[in-house]
């Protein structure tokens, strides 16, 4: 069995494991105030070209989203998200548990637009309704698509004009930054957002997400928020060491590139057989719509997620690749897919 279920099936990139091992017996202070974290922060600030950014390391994505969002909003304020957004669907109401409404917006290809944001603002007119105050978007989106630099610029302008904060969830940011056709850089994110996070868990680390705060108001007392929400790791150095490695010699980008290349092979294999996709993903998640008979065959050797059941003999599925995905296994998968399609036609 080989798994394409997700990008957290294995441990961490070997560079990271080595760094953890090597430093294991060194003594450091706790809670992210150590020199490993300091070094990693410096690397990230250099990469984004903003010495004034605050960088904090947290363990996981849901924790990061709930901490950032609840730090930014007053109790009656709400966050706007595409209805496919991770905070809308897959965080068990963590944002609501922190007291805030997530305003879910139907959005093509999982992408918000200035028009959608405007429409949302327009219907929230007074104190009998929540006050939209933040725009949350994911790069890449939960359905594998990306925003162009121009699209982000437009959203950023729309946010500024309307007093909204812009926050980008970069759980799979390595994949977006290195995707074919992507013209967005870390420096662009720092310029256009109030806050964003650089995902580690799904991009080669054992765990960890690096929150980058640009907005001064959001910086204040952020460590209180991390601690209160249970996100302050005692051995914080583990996060510093990992992000130090991810941003040494562009490892983060190489991880994204590899995952994307593996995903592209799967995409091409599906396209060759003439199948369509839920979205035109250029990142490490692919959502082909495959015949049930073919899937039955593929399930014998591969793990993957059912995305959406249909009633026409086809099912949308999801294949995810990562830094650890083995090219050999992918090529075998492609060959097996072709064979399954052949048998079907026969």
């Amino acid at each position: 069995m080989y798994s394409f279920k997700n990008d957290y099936s294995e441990g961490a990139h070997p560079n990271i494991m080595q760094a953890l091992l090597k430093s294991n017996l060194e003594q450091t202070v706790g809670y992210g105030m150590d020199s490993c974290c300091e070094d990693a922060r410096r690397s990230i600030c250099e990469k984004i070209g903003r010495q004034d950014a605050d960088v904090h390391f947290l363990v996981g994505g849901t924790q990061t989203n709930l901490t950032v969002i609840s730090a930014a909003l007053r109790p009656y304020q709400a966050v706007i998200s595409a209805e496919t957004g991770h905070i809308c669907v897959h965080e068990t109401g963590a944002i609501e548990a922190a007291g805030h409404k997530v305003i879910a917006v139907a959005a093509e290809n999982g992408k918000l637009t200035p028009q959608l944001i405007h429409n949302t603002i327009d219907v929230h007119t007074d104190e009998h309704m929540v006050q939209p105050k933040m725009v949350y978007l994911s790069l890449p989106t939960e359905v594998g698509t990306i925003y162009s630099k121009q699209e982000l610029e437009d959203i950023s302008v729309c946010c500024k004009e309307n007093g909204l904060l812009l926050y980008v969830d970069g759980a799979r940011l390595a994949s977006a930054l290195t995707a074919q056709g992507c013209d967005v850089t870390l420096a662009d994110l720092a310029r256009l957002c109030d806050a964003f996070y650089i995902g580690g868990t799904k991009c080669g680390a054992l765990f960890g997400e690096a929150v980058v705060l640009l907005n001064n108001a959001m910086k204040q007392d952020f460590r209180y928020m991390i601690k209160q929400r249970g996100g302050m790791l005692a051995k914080g150095r583990l996060l510093g060491i990992q992000f130090g490695e991810l941003f040494r010699d562009d490892l983060y980008y190489r991880i994204g590139q590899h995952a994307n290349r593996m995903a592209a092979l799967i995409k091409q294999a599906c396209q060759s057989e003439g199948f369509t996709f839920v979205t035109d993903s250029v990142t490490n998640q692919q959502f082909p719509i495959l015949p049930d008979t073919v899937l039955e065959e593929m399930e014998k050797n591969y793990l993957f997620e059912v995305w959406e059941k249909r009633n026409d003999g086809y099912t949308a599925v999801r294949f995810v690749t990562s830094w650890a995905t083995c090219e050999e296994n992918v090529l075998q998968f492609c060959a097996d897919l072709h064979n399954a399609c052949m048998s079907r036609k026969a």
Copy 2:
């Protein structure tokens, strides 16, 4: 410089690092549903002699406390804690942020008693006040003391008679279970509590706490709570692997024993010089009250925490040991302490 500041200054016990390294490229499913977690759960259930216990792995202590407590209480219910309790003092109001009052009780040696619990219940008489529903205690306490089996039995009876849940925070449980004079076992905790957690972070792991739920009502939907509060690790196997190692060949106990033995050396050194202590700790935290002149000398080579400033030329300080504390360094520390005391008298 050698640090006695805390028990999370280093990485993890070498056995754990080796296990992580060895399994690094194996594929597993996410979120704690993998076989490593299953194995670790089985080990723990055997150790406590309760096959019906639910065991969940979380990353850190504050996260664990807020998740367990908010899972157990209805909105108007409160938790009783010694005023030195971790949830009272050092979790940035995490329990209150989850909506619940922590009723702080002044308690000698950091230890609750049936009498103190009764007094608290007596003054909470109707719906204009919160309803006490849970007793939280720490083993060892935050000031290094432990409860005897009889003391825990009495508290457990008191809780049952008054419809209170009993929850034990075992952040440093390895140290308590192996402390001189301790007659409490994991099986006792399982018998007497509704829930408790076995600390990993401060007992040899990189991170991780194992929640053991005995009360059936608390078991229901607990994974929803973990996910919502941001405590569900994507690569959950990391927790399973670590607890698997901690409970292989009694490593957990050996870790506690070593830490305690190192702490006892420090304790004896202080006693030899005639110094007193904040509490009579038998675990891996020692709280001697030392002359300021001696501390000035010791600060040159050792890191430790100031516990309480006084105005009589003495200061209460805290020395913490762990699995990683090196005997050589401790012996040097004891010698240095003796020398500092000699110079002082001279």
Copy 3:
């Protein structure tokens, strides 16, 4: 100027004012434990034919909804509502502020159906998503429509089969119960729901809503919830006196009938001119779509709310009637509407 803006433009029905005045100097105990509240509870229990119901009096609708819903749900549980539901739109995120997601469902005529509920359950599959646990519906709906007894029976069966609680918001219940074609009684609500509330504020009282709890689990400690959420009135007798009057000699029904009759006059006037409506309301809110030129004329003498601006020269507006709406003014309104339409055609 005459206002059709809402059903809380005036004070209270004269019977209520008299009762308040008459009892003003009598001494009673506080917080709803007085004999006036006891009497009103008894009246309501008789009316619904359920001696086992718990009846609590709160001040306003948002307060009532947030108290009932947060009393019923565990932290990760969510409430299903039509997207036009009051809790979805007009309560400033009060339910989310209490920690719970409101799952908004697009629903024709503001009405939920078993099918819509099923669809919602189907997509909430595991602990990465909230757990739907309650169905919230309004009778009448926020757009003036009502549920038939059979529709409520079907929803109730669907809820029971799926372990969902059913809660009905009766802010304007007097109007629904007396609407043309309504075959639902208070006894039906008590039989089919786990909880519902009988609206006072919009049905003739100065303020006040009577929560009726049928589900035993929801009854437990409900007064703690009321007090904690700030809904326990010190002079609770004011609520008892008002509901006592509302349920004396069927005043509540007479209030609904009058409001409905006034609304029907407005409806007929609009229909006579050939105008259409947003919904086919049989209750005290009417949502005609009127020409902008006519509205300009009517605005000179009447207050009402714009419901939805359109781009075709028409605007949907809302006219609301109440126990206090004066027939004379309504007839004048109808005449004025006719004249405005005549001038327009001329």
Copy 4:
């Protein structure tokens, strides 16, 4: 039976009842935007000499406290209160339910001091603890005492120097402002506090508390907070009308004076018999410590609260007076007390 149990045993001052009756059929807009509320706001602003104050009307005290405090604090911030403070004891954890820790401080006579505030700040040193951000005090205190102008000045200076907000709970403010020896005025409160509230419920109204906001940051979007917490009354005019009356011709002060004069009679009666008191109250609550035998006698004709049971044959009790307390009944009470004491000695 005559009740001295509390100051909310009757309805409202006759002036208020007449004003409500007189305006009953007038149409106004909802939610406190009507001209009655505007007028009352203007009266209060004049009284306090601050045209820039924002005045909002809420229904009850717990609601007011939770709304003001949660509007002012970020999630990790806490409020300092005397341990006898209403928010500490008698609001069922409403502040904690809004996410904030109440730091309870042991305080003589229920009164905070700069020293107590300093001590609290000193032990809250970093992000592992909550951040004290607001001081809450009650005037009069829950045990009937008052602060002098100098005491309030000193606390205000202490707050400003330490970046703390000062909030005064004036549930029984009428009694404090007119107490013997009180040199504090409404204008002083406006000058020294960031926010305070003028109690109506316990000072002659049917219900209602007027929040006065001086701090500009606290003013922002306060109506969103009121609405979200369920405190926005649909028929908001009821609050405007009541506060309009309370501040017409100094009715508020006359109410306080009468209550205090009635309380003083009770105090003198107890003093004449040589009894002591829990506190030296100058306001409308008296806490004498009376012989159990005398109390047994008095219970036959009077209702009052037991404050604290003792083991020496005496019990501390509470007698409360109000605008409605009848002098005739008080004189009878004093005579009965004297007789009971006589029989006891005989």
